[in-house]
Protein backbone atom coordinates (compact mmCIF):
# COMPACT_ATOMS: atom_id res chain seq x y z
CA UNK A 1 0.00 0.00 0.00
CA UNK A 2 1.16 3.53 -0.81
CA UNK A 3 2.59 5.62 1.97
CA UNK A 4 3.79 9.20 2.26
CA UNK A 5 6.50 9.31 4.91
CA UNK A 6 7.93 12.55 6.20
CA UNK A 7 10.82 12.19 8.61
CA UNK A 8 12.96 14.72 10.41
CA UNK A 9 12.02 17.44 7.91
CA UNK A 10 13.73 20.74 8.62
CA UNK A 11 13.03 23.74 6.39
CA UNK A 12 14.36 27.24 6.36
CA UNK A 13 12.66 30.24 4.78
CA UNK A 14 15.13 33.08 4.43
CA UNK A 15 17.27 33.00 7.55
CA UNK A 16 14.63 31.44 9.74
CA UNK A 17 14.17 27.75 10.41
CA UNK A 18 10.41 27.18 10.32
CA UNK A 19 10.15 23.38 10.32
CA UNK A 20 12.32 21.88 12.99
CA UNK A 21 11.93 18.17 12.46
CA UNK A 22 8.51 17.05 11.20
CA UNK A 23 7.70 13.32 11.41
CA UNK A 24 4.49 12.13 9.82
CA UNK A 25 3.22 9.07 7.95
CA UNK A 26 0.08 9.12 5.79
CA UNK A 27 -1.07 5.80 4.38
CA UNK A 28 -3.10 5.72 1.14
CA UNK A 29 -6.84 6.12 1.53
CA UNK A 30 -6.61 7.91 4.87
CA UNK A 31 -7.44 11.48 5.79
CA UNK A 32 -4.88 13.17 8.02
CA UNK A 33 -5.48 16.67 9.29
CA UNK A 34 -2.78 19.03 10.46
CA UNK A 35 -3.87 21.75 12.84
CA UNK A 36 -1.90 24.37 14.67
CA UNK A 37 -1.77 28.03 15.62
CA UNK A 38 -0.74 30.76 13.20
CA UNK A 39 2.95 30.67 12.42
CA UNK A 40 3.41 27.07 13.51
CA UNK A 41 4.73 25.99 10.09
CA UNK A 42 1.66 24.29 8.57
CA UNK A 43 1.77 26.05 5.22
CA UNK A 44 5.55 25.85 5.10
CA UNK A 45 5.20 22.07 5.24
CA UNK A 46 2.80 22.09 2.28
CA UNK A 47 5.04 24.26 0.16
CA UNK A 48 8.28 22.51 1.07
CA UNK A 49 6.76 19.17 0.03
CA UNK A 50 6.27 20.47 -3.51
CA UNK A 51 9.62 22.26 -3.81
CA UNK A 52 8.44 25.86 -3.86
CA UNK A 53 11.33 28.27 -4.54
CA UNK A 54 12.57 29.94 -1.37
CA UNK A 55 11.81 26.98 0.87
CA UNK A 56 15.19 25.41 1.67
CA UNK A 57 15.19 21.90 3.02
CA UNK A 58 18.13 21.62 5.40
CA UNK A 59 17.54 18.10 6.64
CA UNK A 60 15.16 15.17 6.57
CA UNK A 61 13.40 13.08 4.00
CA UNK A 62 10.03 12.76 2.27
CA UNK A 63 9.37 9.46 0.55
CA UNK A 64 6.44 8.24 -1.46
CA UNK A 65 6.51 4.46 -1.78
CA UNK A 66 10.20 4.54 -1.01
CA UNK A 67 11.13 7.18 -3.59
CA UNK A 68 12.85 10.25 -2.14
CA UNK A 69 10.75 13.20 -3.32
CA UNK A 70 13.16 15.84 -2.08
CA UNK A 71 15.61 14.82 -4.77
CA UNK A 72 13.03 15.40 -7.51
CA UNK A 73 12.04 18.58 -9.35
CA UNK A 74 8.56 19.92 -8.48
CA UNK A 75 7.00 18.48 -11.64
CA UNK A 76 8.50 15.04 -10.99
CA UNK A 77 7.11 15.04 -7.46
CA UNK A 78 3.66 15.71 -8.87
CA UNK A 79 4.10 13.06 -11.56
CA UNK A 80 5.09 10.64 -8.84
CA UNK A 81 1.76 11.24 -7.17
CA UNK A 82 1.92 14.23 -4.82
CA UNK A 83 -0.36 17.18 -5.56
CA UNK A 84 -0.71 20.39 -3.60
CA UNK A 85 -3.96 22.33 -3.52
CA UNK A 86 -2.97 25.86 -2.67
CA UNK A 87 -4.46 28.26 -0.19
CA UNK A 88 -4.14 31.01 -2.80
CA UNK A 89 -4.04 29.39 -6.24
CA UNK A 90 -2.17 31.53 -8.73
CA UNK A 91 -3.54 33.11 -11.87
CA UNK A 92 -1.77 32.06 -15.04
CA UNK A 93 -3.15 34.33 -17.79
CA UNK A 94 -3.39 32.81 -21.23
CA UNK A 95 -3.15 29.19 -20.07
CA UNK A 96 -6.36 27.18 -20.03
CA UNK A 97 -6.91 24.52 -17.35
CA UNK A 98 -7.34 21.80 -19.98
CA UNK A 99 -4.03 22.69 -21.66
CA UNK A 100 -2.23 22.68 -18.33
CA UNK A 101 -3.78 19.37 -17.24
CA UNK A 102 -2.80 17.69 -20.52
CA UNK A 103 0.76 18.98 -20.07
CA UNK A 104 0.60 17.52 -16.56
CA UNK A 105 -0.30 14.10 -17.92
CA UNK A 106 -4.10 14.07 -18.33
CA UNK A 107 -5.59 12.29 -21.34
CA UNK A 108 -6.24 14.88 -24.08
CA UNK A 109 -9.18 12.87 -25.41
CA UNK A 110 -11.16 13.05 -22.20
CA UNK A 111 -9.79 16.05 -20.34
CA UNK A 112 -12.60 18.48 -21.21
CA UNK A 113 -15.30 16.04 -20.15
CA UNK A 114 -13.42 15.16 -16.98
CA UNK A 115 -13.06 18.85 -16.04
CA UNK A 116 -16.78 19.43 -16.54
CA UNK A 117 -17.69 16.38 -14.52
CA UNK A 118 -15.36 17.27 -11.66
CA UNK A 119 -16.55 20.88 -11.70
CA UNK A 120 -20.12 19.77 -11.24
CA UNK A 121 -19.12 17.54 -8.34
CA UNK A 122 -17.81 20.54 -6.39
CA UNK A 123 -20.61 22.88 -7.43
CA UNK A 124 -18.54 24.94 -9.85
CA UNK A 125 -19.96 26.15 -13.16
CA UNK A 126 -17.86 24.28 -15.77
CA UNK A 127 -17.60 27.33 -18.04
CA UNK A 128 -15.47 29.03 -15.37
CA UNK A 129 -12.81 26.46 -16.22
CA UNK A 130 -12.90 27.08 -19.95
CA UNK A 131 -11.20 30.45 -19.47
CA UNK A 132 -7.64 31.05 -18.32
CA UNK A 133 -6.29 29.38 -15.20
CA UNK A 134 -7.83 31.02 -12.10
CA UNK A 135 -8.21 34.36 -13.89
CA UNK A 136 -11.30 36.28 -12.73
CA UNK A 137 -12.27 33.53 -10.27
CA UNK A 138 -13.20 34.38 -6.69
CA UNK A 139 -11.15 32.92 -3.82
CA UNK A 140 -13.75 30.21 -3.20
CA UNK A 141 -13.99 29.31 -6.88
CA UNK A 142 -10.23 28.94 -7.09
CA UNK A 143 -10.24 26.52 -4.15
CA UNK A 144 -12.82 24.39 -5.88
CA UNK A 145 -10.88 24.62 -9.14
CA UNK A 146 -7.92 23.06 -7.29
CA UNK A 147 -10.13 20.13 -6.30
CA UNK A 148 -11.22 19.81 -9.93
CA UNK A 149 -7.54 19.50 -10.91
CA UNK A 150 -7.13 16.83 -8.25
CA UNK A 151 -10.14 14.93 -9.59
CA UNK A 152 -8.73 14.97 -13.13
CA UNK A 153 -5.13 14.14 -12.20
CA UNK A 154 -5.97 11.58 -9.49
CA UNK A 155 -2.76 11.91 -7.45
CA UNK A 156 -1.85 9.24 -4.93
CA UNK A 157 -1.64 11.93 -2.25
CA UNK A 158 -3.12 15.39 -2.07
CA UNK A 159 -1.93 18.10 0.31
CA UNK A 160 -4.56 20.75 0.97
CA UNK A 161 -3.36 24.07 2.31
CA UNK A 162 -6.28 25.67 4.15
CA UNK A 163 -8.73 24.54 1.53
CA UNK A 164 -11.59 25.54 3.85
CA UNK A 165 -10.84 29.26 4.16
CA UNK A 166 -13.02 31.37 1.88
CA UNK A 167 -15.49 28.56 1.18
CA UNK A 168 -19.11 28.92 2.20
CA UNK A 169 -20.84 26.06 4.01
CA UNK A 170 -22.26 24.48 0.85
CA UNK A 171 -18.99 24.69 -1.05
CA UNK A 172 -17.09 23.28 1.91
CA UNK A 173 -19.55 20.38 2.05
CA UNK A 174 -19.12 19.53 -1.61
CA UNK A 175 -15.31 19.79 -1.45
CA UNK A 176 -15.19 17.57 1.65
CA UNK A 177 -17.46 15.02 -0.01
CA UNK A 178 -15.26 14.99 -3.10
CA UNK A 179 -12.17 14.38 -0.97
CA UNK A 180 -13.84 11.62 0.99
CA UNK A 181 -14.90 9.96 -2.26
CA UNK A 182 -11.37 10.26 -3.61
CA UNK A 183 -10.12 8.15 -0.71
CA UNK A 184 -12.46 5.36 -1.85
CA UNK A 185 -12.31 5.84 -5.62
CA UNK A 186 -8.57 5.53 -6.04
CA UNK A 187 -7.30 5.27 -2.48
CA UNK A 188 -6.14 8.88 -2.43
CA UNK A 189 -4.29 9.84 0.74
CA UNK A 190 -5.31 13.27 2.06
CA UNK A 191 -3.17 15.59 4.16
CA UNK A 192 -5.34 18.59 5.02
CA UNK A 193 -3.95 21.66 6.71
CA UNK A 194 -6.38 23.87 8.53
CA UNK A 195 -6.82 25.93 11.61
CA UNK A 196 -10.58 25.76 11.59
CA UNK A 197 -12.46 22.88 13.09
CA UNK A 198 -15.37 23.40 10.74
CA UNK A 199 -13.61 21.36 8.05
CA UNK A 200 -13.83 18.37 10.39
CA UNK A 201 -17.61 18.58 10.48
CA UNK A 202 -17.56 17.67 6.82
CA UNK A 203 -14.37 15.69 6.32
CA UNK A 204 -13.96 12.74 8.66
CA UNK A 205 -10.30 12.44 9.61
CA UNK A 206 -8.44 9.23 10.28
CA UNK A 207 -5.94 11.15 12.35
CA UNK A 208 -5.28 14.66 13.58
CA UNK A 209 -1.79 16.04 14.15
CA UNK A 210 -1.07 19.22 16.06
CA UNK A 211 1.91 21.24 14.86
CA UNK A 212 3.56 23.84 17.03
CA UNK A 213 6.85 25.64 16.49
CA UNK A 214 7.74 23.49 13.50
CA UNK A 215 7.17 20.06 15.05
CA UNK A 216 4.32 17.58 15.39
CA UNK A 217 3.57 17.82 19.10
CA UNK A 218 0.48 15.61 19.35
CA UNK A 219 -1.30 13.02 17.21
CA UNK A 220 -4.58 11.30 17.80
CA UNK A 221 -7.96 10.36 16.43
CA UNK A 222 -10.91 12.65 15.76
CA UNK A 223 -11.33 13.12 19.51
CA UNK A 224 -8.25 15.35 19.47
CA UNK A 225 -10.36 17.99 17.73
CA UNK A 226 -12.63 18.12 20.75
CA UNK A 227 -9.70 18.74 23.07
CA UNK A 228 -8.62 21.59 20.80
CA UNK A 229 -12.16 22.94 20.79
CA UNK A 230 -12.23 22.97 24.58
CA UNK A 231 -8.73 24.17 25.43
CA UNK A 232 -7.40 25.75 22.22
CA UNK A 233 -3.77 25.30 21.21
CA UNK A 234 -2.39 26.52 24.54
CA UNK A 235 -1.74 23.07 26.07
CA UNK A 236 0.25 22.13 22.93
CA UNK A 237 2.09 25.39 22.42
CA UNK A 238 5.86 25.14 22.21
CA UNK A 239 8.34 27.93 21.80
CA UNK A 240 11.21 28.00 19.34
Amino acid sequence: MSELVISGLRVRVGEKEILRGIDLTVPAGEVHVIMGPNGSGKSTLAHALTGRPGYDVIDGSVTLDGVELLELAPAERARHGLLLALQQPLEVPGVRPATMLVAAGADPATVEARIDEEARRVGLRPELLHRFLNVDLSGGERKRAEIVQMGVLRPRFVVLDEIDSGLDVDALGSVARRLQEATHEWGCGVLAITHFRRLLHELVPTAIHVVSAGRVVASGGPELAETLEEHGYEPFRQTT
Partner: protein
Protein backbone atom coordinates in the same frame (compact mmCIF):
# COMPACT_ATOMS: atom_id res chain seq x y z
CA UNK B 1 26.14 51.93 -60.94
CA UNK B 2 22.43 52.73 -60.71
CA UNK B 3 21.34 53.95 -57.30
CA UNK B 4 17.96 53.37 -55.73
CA UNK B 5 17.09 57.04 -56.19
CA UNK B 6 17.93 56.92 -59.92
CA UNK B 7 15.84 53.79 -60.39
CA UNK B 8 12.92 55.25 -58.42
CA UNK B 9 13.05 58.52 -60.31
CA UNK B 10 13.02 56.64 -63.60
CA UNK B 11 10.03 54.56 -62.49
CA UNK B 12 8.08 57.72 -61.59
CA UNK B 13 8.79 59.36 -64.97
CA UNK B 14 6.60 62.36 -65.64
CA UNK B 15 3.81 61.53 -63.18
CA UNK B 16 3.40 64.86 -61.37
CA UNK B 17 1.61 63.54 -58.31
CA UNK B 18 4.15 60.79 -57.69
CA UNK B 19 6.95 63.26 -58.40
CA UNK B 20 5.68 65.59 -55.66
CA UNK B 21 5.72 62.73 -53.11
CA UNK B 22 9.15 61.67 -54.30
CA UNK B 23 10.48 65.24 -53.97
CA UNK B 24 9.01 65.40 -50.48
CA UNK B 25 10.76 62.11 -49.68
CA UNK B 26 14.10 63.40 -50.98
CA UNK B 27 13.63 66.64 -49.00
CA UNK B 28 12.80 64.71 -45.82
CA UNK B 29 15.77 62.39 -46.34
CA UNK B 30 16.19 58.95 -44.83
CA UNK B 31 16.15 59.02 -41.05
CA UNK B 32 19.26 58.52 -38.96
CA UNK B 33 19.63 57.13 -35.48
CA UNK B 34 20.19 60.64 -34.19
CA UNK B 35 16.45 61.18 -34.83
CA UNK B 36 14.83 60.26 -31.52
CA UNK B 37 12.07 58.21 -33.19
CA UNK B 38 14.62 56.15 -35.14
CA UNK B 39 17.27 55.71 -32.49
CA UNK B 40 16.63 51.96 -32.09
CA UNK B 41 16.64 51.14 -35.80
CA UNK B 42 19.74 49.36 -37.16
CA UNK B 43 20.17 52.11 -39.75
CA UNK B 44 23.95 51.78 -39.76
CA UNK B 45 23.71 48.84 -42.15
CA UNK B 46 20.67 50.10 -44.02
CA UNK B 47 20.93 51.24 -47.60
CA UNK B 48 18.10 51.60 -50.11
CA UNK B 49 20.53 50.54 -52.86
CA UNK B 50 20.47 47.06 -51.41
CA UNK B 51 16.86 46.69 -52.57
CA UNK B 52 17.21 47.65 -56.24
CA UNK B 53 17.22 44.10 -57.53
CA UNK B 54 13.67 43.10 -58.34
CA UNK B 55 14.15 39.35 -58.79
CA UNK B 56 11.11 37.30 -57.92
CA UNK B 57 11.44 35.00 -54.95
CA UNK B 58 9.12 32.02 -54.78
CA UNK B 59 6.91 31.94 -51.71
CA UNK B 60 6.03 28.53 -50.39
CA UNK B 61 3.17 29.47 -48.13
CA UNK B 62 0.16 28.02 -49.94
CA UNK B 63 -1.19 26.11 -46.96
CA UNK B 64 -0.87 29.11 -44.67
CA UNK B 65 -2.51 31.39 -47.22
CA UNK B 66 -5.36 28.93 -47.51
CA UNK B 67 -5.87 28.92 -43.77
CA UNK B 68 -6.01 32.72 -43.68
CA UNK B 69 -8.58 32.72 -46.51
CA UNK B 70 -10.81 30.29 -44.64
CA UNK B 71 -14.28 31.66 -44.04
CA UNK B 72 -13.61 34.91 -45.88
CA UNK B 73 -16.38 36.85 -47.62
CA UNK B 74 -13.93 38.53 -49.99
CA UNK B 75 -10.23 37.80 -50.56
CA UNK B 76 -8.09 40.65 -51.88
CA UNK B 77 -4.69 39.48 -53.09
CA UNK B 78 -1.93 42.05 -53.44
CA UNK B 79 1.56 41.35 -54.73
CA UNK B 80 4.25 43.89 -53.92
CA UNK B 81 1.47 46.41 -53.37
CA UNK B 82 -0.29 45.72 -56.65
CA UNK B 83 -3.87 44.49 -56.69
CA UNK B 84 -3.80 41.05 -58.34
CA UNK B 85 -7.10 39.47 -57.57
CA UNK B 86 -10.40 40.02 -55.82
CA UNK B 87 -12.36 36.85 -55.19
CA UNK B 88 -15.78 36.59 -53.67
CA UNK B 89 -18.26 39.39 -53.39
CA UNK B 90 -20.47 40.99 -50.86
CA UNK B 91 -23.25 43.46 -51.39
CA UNK B 92 -22.26 46.94 -50.33
CA UNK B 93 -18.53 46.25 -50.45
CA UNK B 94 -16.44 47.65 -53.27
CA UNK B 95 -12.77 47.02 -53.97
CA UNK B 96 -11.11 49.41 -56.40
CA UNK B 97 -7.79 51.11 -57.10
CA UNK B 98 -6.80 54.74 -57.35
CA UNK B 99 -3.64 56.81 -57.19
CA UNK B 100 -1.91 56.66 -53.84
CA UNK B 101 -1.66 59.69 -51.61
CA UNK B 102 -5.18 60.95 -50.88
CA UNK B 103 -6.34 63.15 -48.05
CA UNK B 104 -7.52 61.59 -44.82
CA UNK B 105 -9.80 63.73 -42.69
CA UNK B 106 -8.75 67.35 -42.75
CA UNK B 107 -5.14 66.73 -43.78
CA UNK B 108 -3.47 66.02 -47.07
CA UNK B 109 -1.15 63.04 -47.41
CA UNK B 110 1.97 65.19 -47.59
CA UNK B 111 0.92 67.21 -44.58
CA UNK B 112 0.09 64.14 -42.52
CA UNK B 113 3.25 62.23 -43.35
CA UNK B 114 5.70 65.06 -43.97
CA UNK B 115 8.16 63.75 -41.39
CA UNK B 116 7.80 60.12 -42.45
CA UNK B 117 10.18 59.49 -45.37
CA UNK B 118 8.97 55.92 -45.86
CA UNK B 119 5.29 56.90 -46.08
CA UNK B 120 6.21 59.55 -48.66
CA UNK B 121 8.22 57.00 -50.62
CA UNK B 122 5.22 54.68 -50.49
CA UNK B 123 2.98 57.25 -52.17
CA UNK B 124 5.65 57.89 -54.82
CA UNK B 125 6.22 54.23 -55.68
CA UNK B 126 3.09 52.31 -54.69
CA UNK B 127 1.38 50.81 -57.76
CA UNK B 128 -1.94 52.21 -56.50
CA UNK B 129 -4.08 52.58 -53.43
CA UNK B 130 -6.29 49.56 -52.98
CA UNK B 131 -9.53 51.04 -51.77
CA UNK B 132 -12.04 48.94 -49.86
CA UNK B 133 -15.27 50.73 -49.29
CA UNK B 134 -18.14 49.47 -47.15
CA UNK B 135 -21.39 51.29 -47.79
CA UNK B 136 -23.48 52.86 -45.05
CA UNK B 137 -25.51 50.42 -42.92
CA UNK B 138 -23.88 47.35 -44.48
CA UNK B 139 -22.82 44.63 -42.06
CA UNK B 140 -20.23 42.28 -43.47
CA UNK B 141 -20.56 39.13 -41.43
CA UNK B 142 -17.50 37.20 -42.61
CA UNK B 143 -14.00 38.69 -42.69
CA UNK B 144 -12.61 40.52 -45.70
CA UNK B 145 -9.13 39.01 -46.10
CA UNK B 146 -6.19 40.88 -47.60
CA UNK B 147 -3.37 38.55 -48.62
CA UNK B 148 -0.22 40.60 -49.03
CA UNK B 149 2.68 38.95 -50.80
CA UNK B 150 6.15 40.46 -51.03
CA UNK B 151 7.67 38.61 -53.99
CA UNK B 152 10.39 41.01 -55.12
CA UNK B 153 12.78 43.18 -53.17
CA UNK B 154 10.37 46.14 -52.93
CA UNK B 155 6.77 46.16 -51.74
CA UNK B 156 4.96 49.48 -51.32
CA UNK B 157 1.41 48.55 -50.41
CA UNK B 158 -1.11 51.30 -49.90
CA UNK B 159 -4.52 50.34 -48.54
CA UNK B 160 -7.43 52.57 -47.72
CA UNK B 161 -10.57 51.29 -46.00
CA UNK B 162 -13.69 53.41 -45.66
CA UNK B 163 -16.40 52.09 -43.37
CA UNK B 164 -19.66 53.94 -44.01
CA UNK B 165 -22.10 55.31 -41.47
CA UNK B 166 -23.47 52.55 -39.22
CA UNK B 167 -21.65 49.90 -41.24
CA UNK B 168 -19.49 47.15 -39.76
CA UNK B 169 -16.81 44.80 -41.03
CA UNK B 170 -13.92 42.59 -40.04
CA UNK B 171 -10.67 42.72 -41.96
CA UNK B 172 -7.81 40.25 -41.72
CA UNK B 173 -4.53 41.18 -43.37
CA UNK B 174 -1.51 38.92 -43.55
CA UNK B 175 1.94 39.42 -45.08
CA UNK B 176 3.81 36.56 -46.73
CA UNK B 177 7.23 36.37 -48.39
CA UNK B 178 9.65 39.27 -48.12
CA UNK B 179 12.98 37.54 -48.61
CA UNK B 180 15.66 40.30 -48.60
CA UNK B 181 12.90 42.81 -49.27
CA UNK B 182 11.98 46.29 -48.17
CA UNK B 183 8.29 46.20 -47.29
CA UNK B 184 6.64 49.56 -46.68
CA UNK B 185 2.88 49.40 -46.16
CA UNK B 186 0.74 52.46 -45.52
CA UNK B 187 -2.78 51.68 -44.33
CA UNK B 188 -5.53 54.16 -43.63
CA UNK B 189 -8.86 53.41 -42.03
CA UNK B 190 -11.71 55.83 -41.90
CA UNK B 191 -14.70 54.77 -39.85
CA UNK B 192 -17.74 57.02 -40.24
CA UNK B 193 -20.30 57.76 -37.53
CA UNK B 194 -21.59 54.66 -35.70
CA UNK B 195 -19.43 52.46 -37.90
CA UNK B 196 -17.36 49.60 -36.58
CA UNK B 197 -14.22 47.92 -37.85
CA UNK B 198 -12.38 44.93 -36.43
CA UNK B 199 -8.94 44.56 -37.93
CA UNK B 200 -6.23 41.93 -37.47
CA UNK B 201 -2.98 42.58 -39.21
CA UNK B 202 -0.30 39.91 -39.12
CA UNK B 203 3.25 40.41 -40.36
CA UNK B 204 5.08 37.10 -40.86
CA UNK B 205 7.70 38.19 -43.40
CA UNK B 206 11.06 36.52 -43.96
CA UNK B 207 13.66 37.23 -41.30
CA UNK B 208 15.82 39.01 -43.91
CA UNK B 209 13.29 41.75 -44.69
CA UNK B 210 12.84 45.29 -43.49
CA UNK B 211 9.24 46.09 -42.61
CA UNK B 212 8.35 49.73 -42.05
CA UNK B 213 4.60 50.09 -41.63
CA UNK B 214 2.40 53.06 -40.98
CA UNK B 215 -1.25 52.81 -40.01
CA UNK B 216 -3.63 55.69 -39.42
CA UNK B 217 -7.17 55.35 -38.15
CA UNK B 218 -9.68 58.17 -38.17
CA UNK B 219 -12.78 57.69 -36.06
CA UNK B 220 -15.93 59.80 -36.36
CA UNK B 221 -18.76 60.14 -33.85
CA UNK B 222 -19.50 56.88 -32.00
CA UNK B 223 -17.27 54.96 -34.42
CA UNK B 224 -15.47 51.93 -33.08
CA UNK B 225 -12.18 50.37 -34.06
CA UNK B 226 -10.78 47.18 -32.60
CA UNK B 227 -7.34 46.50 -33.99
CA UNK B 228 -4.81 43.71 -33.45
CA UNK B 229 -1.33 44.08 -34.85
CA UNK B 230 1.02 41.10 -34.72
CA UNK B 231 4.65 41.14 -35.77
CA UNK B 232 6.72 37.98 -35.90
CA UNK B 233 8.77 38.44 -39.02
CA UNK B 234 11.38 40.79 -40.50
CA UNK B 235 14.90 41.65 -39.47
CA UNK B 236 13.69 45.13 -38.56
CA UNK B 237 9.98 45.37 -37.87
CA UNK B 238 8.64 48.85 -37.38
CA UNK B 239 4.96 49.47 -36.94
CA UNK B 240 3.59 52.88 -36.23
CA UNK B 241 -0.09 52.93 -35.37
CA UNK B 242 -1.92 56.22 -35.04
CA UNK B 243 -5.53 56.67 -34.10
CA UNK B 244 -7.25 60.00 -34.32
CA UNK B 245 -10.54 60.27 -32.49
CA UNK B 246 -12.37 63.18 -34.08
CA UNK B 247 -16.00 62.44 -33.14
CA UNK B 248 -17.63 62.33 -29.71
CA UNK B 249 -18.16 58.79 -28.45
CA UNK B 250 -15.49 57.31 -30.73
CA UNK B 251 -13.57 54.38 -29.32
CA UNK B 252 -10.31 52.77 -30.32
CA UNK B 253 -8.98 49.51 -28.96
CA UNK B 254 -5.52 48.49 -30.08
CA UNK B 255 -3.73 45.25 -29.22
CA UNK B 256 -0.19 44.91 -30.45
CA UNK B 257 1.96 41.82 -30.12
CA UNK B 258 5.41 40.83 -31.21
CA UNK B 259 7.83 38.00 -30.63
CA UNK B 260 11.50 38.65 -31.28
CA UNK B 261 14.06 35.97 -31.98
CA UNK B 262 17.55 35.81 -33.49
CA UNK B 263 18.77 39.38 -33.83
CA UNK B 264 15.45 40.90 -34.76
CA UNK B 265 14.42 44.40 -33.76
CA UNK B 266 10.74 45.14 -33.16
CA UNK B 267 10.09 48.85 -33.04
CA UNK B 268 6.54 49.71 -32.13
CA UNK B 269 5.09 53.18 -31.96
CA UNK B 270 1.58 54.26 -31.11
CA UNK B 271 -0.21 57.58 -30.98
CA UNK B 272 -3.67 57.84 -29.44
CA UNK B 273 -4.86 61.32 -30.35
CA UNK B 274 -8.08 62.48 -28.71
CA UNK B 275 -9.16 65.58 -30.56
CA UNK B 276 -12.61 65.80 -28.99
CA UNK B 277 -14.18 64.84 -25.66
CA UNK B 278 -16.01 61.70 -24.54
CA UNK B 279 -13.70 59.52 -26.61
CA UNK B 280 -12.10 56.31 -25.43
CA UNK B 281 -8.87 54.61 -26.35
CA UNK B 282 -7.37 51.51 -24.87
CA UNK B 283 -4.05 50.08 -25.88
CA UNK B 284 -2.52 46.82 -24.78
CA UNK B 285 0.91 45.98 -26.11
CA UNK B 286 2.53 42.69 -25.21
CA UNK B 287 5.79 41.47 -26.61
CA UNK B 288 8.43 38.89 -25.90
CA UNK B 289 12.07 38.91 -26.89
CA UNK B 290 14.21 35.78 -27.13
CA UNK B 291 17.81 35.10 -28.23
CA UNK B 292 19.57 38.41 -28.94
CA UNK B 293 16.50 40.24 -30.17
CA UNK B 294 15.35 43.57 -28.89
CA UNK B 295 12.23 45.65 -28.84
CA UNK B 296 11.15 49.17 -28.18
CA UNK B 297 7.68 50.35 -27.43
CA UNK B 298 6.96 54.07 -27.56
CA UNK B 299 3.41 55.18 -27.00
CA UNK B 300 1.97 58.66 -26.89
CA UNK B 301 -1.43 59.59 -25.55
CA UNK B 302 -2.34 63.08 -26.71
CA UNK B 303 -5.45 64.79 -25.42
CA UNK B 304 -6.50 68.08 -27.00
CA UNK B 305 -7.52 71.04 -24.89
CA UNK B 306 -11.30 70.83 -24.45
CA UNK B 307 -11.47 67.05 -25.05
CA UNK B 308 -13.27 66.62 -21.74
CA UNK B 309 -14.18 63.26 -20.25
CA UNK B 310 -11.71 61.46 -22.43
CA UNK B 311 -10.68 58.01 -21.21
CA UNK B 312 -7.27 56.89 -22.49
CA UNK B 313 -5.31 53.88 -21.32
CA UNK B 314 -2.02 52.38 -22.35
CA UNK B 315 -0.45 49.16 -21.07
CA UNK B 316 2.79 47.62 -22.24
CA UNK B 317 4.20 44.32 -20.98
CA UNK B 318 7.49 42.86 -22.18
CA UNK B 319 8.76 39.41 -21.52
CA UNK B 320 12.48 38.72 -21.56
CA UNK B 321 13.14 35.13 -22.64
CA UNK B 322 16.90 35.34 -22.77
CA UNK B 323 19.56 37.18 -20.78
CA UNK B 324 20.84 38.60 -24.08
CA UNK B 325 17.48 40.03 -25.18
CA UNK B 326 16.49 43.58 -24.40
CA UNK B 327 13.25 45.56 -24.25
CA UNK B 328 12.61 49.26 -23.81
CA UNK B 329 9.28 50.77 -22.92
CA UNK B 330 8.69 54.49 -23.27
CA UNK B 331 5.17 55.71 -22.51
CA UNK B 332 4.48 59.42 -23.09
CA UNK B 333 1.56 61.66 -22.20
CA UNK B 334 0.61 65.01 -23.66
CA UNK B 335 -2.57 66.08 -21.92
CA UNK B 336 -3.96 69.54 -22.44
CA UNK B 337 -7.26 69.03 -20.59
CA UNK B 338 -7.93 68.38 -16.89
CA UNK B 339 -11.25 66.55 -16.97
CA UNK B 340 -9.92 63.22 -18.28
CA UNK B 341 -9.07 59.71 -17.15
CA UNK B 342 -5.67 58.67 -18.33
CA UNK B 343 -3.57 55.71 -17.24
CA UNK B 344 -0.44 54.00 -18.36
CA UNK B 345 1.51 51.03 -17.09
CA UNK B 346 4.51 49.14 -18.34
CA UNK B 347 6.67 46.23 -17.27
CA UNK B 348 9.79 44.49 -18.50
CA UNK B 349 10.91 41.21 -16.97
CA UNK B 350 11.39 37.46 -17.23
CA UNK B 351 8.70 34.81 -16.75
CA UNK B 352 7.04 34.85 -13.35
CA UNK B 353 8.82 32.31 -11.16
CA UNK B 354 5.77 31.63 -8.98
CA UNK B 355 3.46 31.01 -11.91
CA UNK B 356 6.03 28.58 -13.28
CA UNK B 357 6.28 26.77 -9.96
CA UNK B 358 2.48 26.57 -9.80
CA UNK B 359 2.40 24.77 -13.16
CA UNK B 360 5.33 22.57 -12.18
CA UNK B 361 3.62 21.62 -8.94
CA UNK B 362 0.78 20.15 -11.04
CA UNK B 363 3.22 17.94 -12.94
CA UNK B 364 4.15 20.14 -15.90
CA UNK B 365 7.90 19.94 -16.45
CA UNK B 366 9.86 23.18 -16.52
CA UNK B 367 10.36 23.42 -20.27
CA UNK B 368 6.69 22.82 -20.94
CA UNK B 369 5.65 25.20 -18.17
CA UNK B 370 7.71 27.96 -19.75
CA UNK B 371 6.36 27.19 -23.20
CA UNK B 372 2.77 27.29 -21.90
CA UNK B 373 3.39 30.58 -20.15
CA UNK B 374 4.91 32.25 -23.19
CA UNK B 375 2.17 30.92 -25.44
CA UNK B 376 -0.30 32.05 -22.80
CA UNK B 377 1.21 35.50 -22.97
CA UNK B 378 0.18 35.57 -26.63
CA UNK B 379 -3.11 33.70 -26.13
CA UNK B 380 -4.47 36.73 -24.33
CA UNK B 381 -3.97 38.64 -27.56
CA UNK B 382 -5.04 35.99 -30.09
CA UNK B 383 -8.18 35.42 -28.06
CA UNK B 384 -9.77 38.52 -29.61
CA UNK B 385 -8.77 37.73 -33.20
CA UNK B 386 -10.75 35.79 -35.82
CA UNK B 387 -9.95 32.06 -35.56
CA UNK B 388 -8.25 31.85 -38.99
CA UNK B 389 -5.50 34.29 -38.02
CA UNK B 390 -5.34 33.25 -34.35
CA UNK B 391 -4.55 29.66 -35.35
CA UNK B 392 -1.75 30.74 -37.65
CA UNK B 393 -0.26 33.07 -35.04
CA UNK B 394 -0.42 30.35 -32.37
CA UNK B 395 1.36 27.89 -34.63
CA UNK B 396 4.03 30.38 -35.72
CA UNK B 397 4.67 31.43 -32.12
CA UNK B 398 5.13 27.77 -31.15
CA UNK B 399 7.58 27.27 -34.03
CA UNK B 400 9.64 30.35 -33.16
CA UNK B 401 9.73 29.39 -29.48
CA UNK B 402 10.78 25.84 -30.21
CA UNK B 403 13.63 27.17 -32.33
CA UNK B 404 14.62 29.84 -29.78
CA UNK B 405 14.60 27.45 -26.81
CA UNK B 406 16.25 24.73 -28.90
CA UNK B 407 19.12 27.04 -29.74
CA UNK B 408 19.61 28.19 -26.17
CA UNK B 409 19.55 24.60 -24.86
Amino acid sequence: MTTFLDAASERIGSDAARRSFFDAFVAAGLPTTSDEVWRYAPLHDFSLDRFISATNVAIDDDADERSIREGASIVVTMVDGELREVSGQCEGVRVSTRLAGHDLGDRSYIERYRADAFALLNAALSPATVHISIEASVHVAMPIVIVQRAETSLAFANVRVDVGTSASATIVECWFGGSDALVVPVSEYHVAANGSLQLSSYQRLAATSWHVARTTTLLERDARMQQSVIGLGAQYDRARNDAELVGTGASNELHTTFLGSGQQVHDLRTHQFHRVGRTTSSLLSKGAVADESRSVYTGLIEIENGARRTDARQTNHNLLLSPHAHADSVPNLDIRENDVVCAHASSVGPLDEMQRWYLESRGVDRENAERLMVQGFFNEMTDVMPDSVARLVDRDVATVLARATGESA
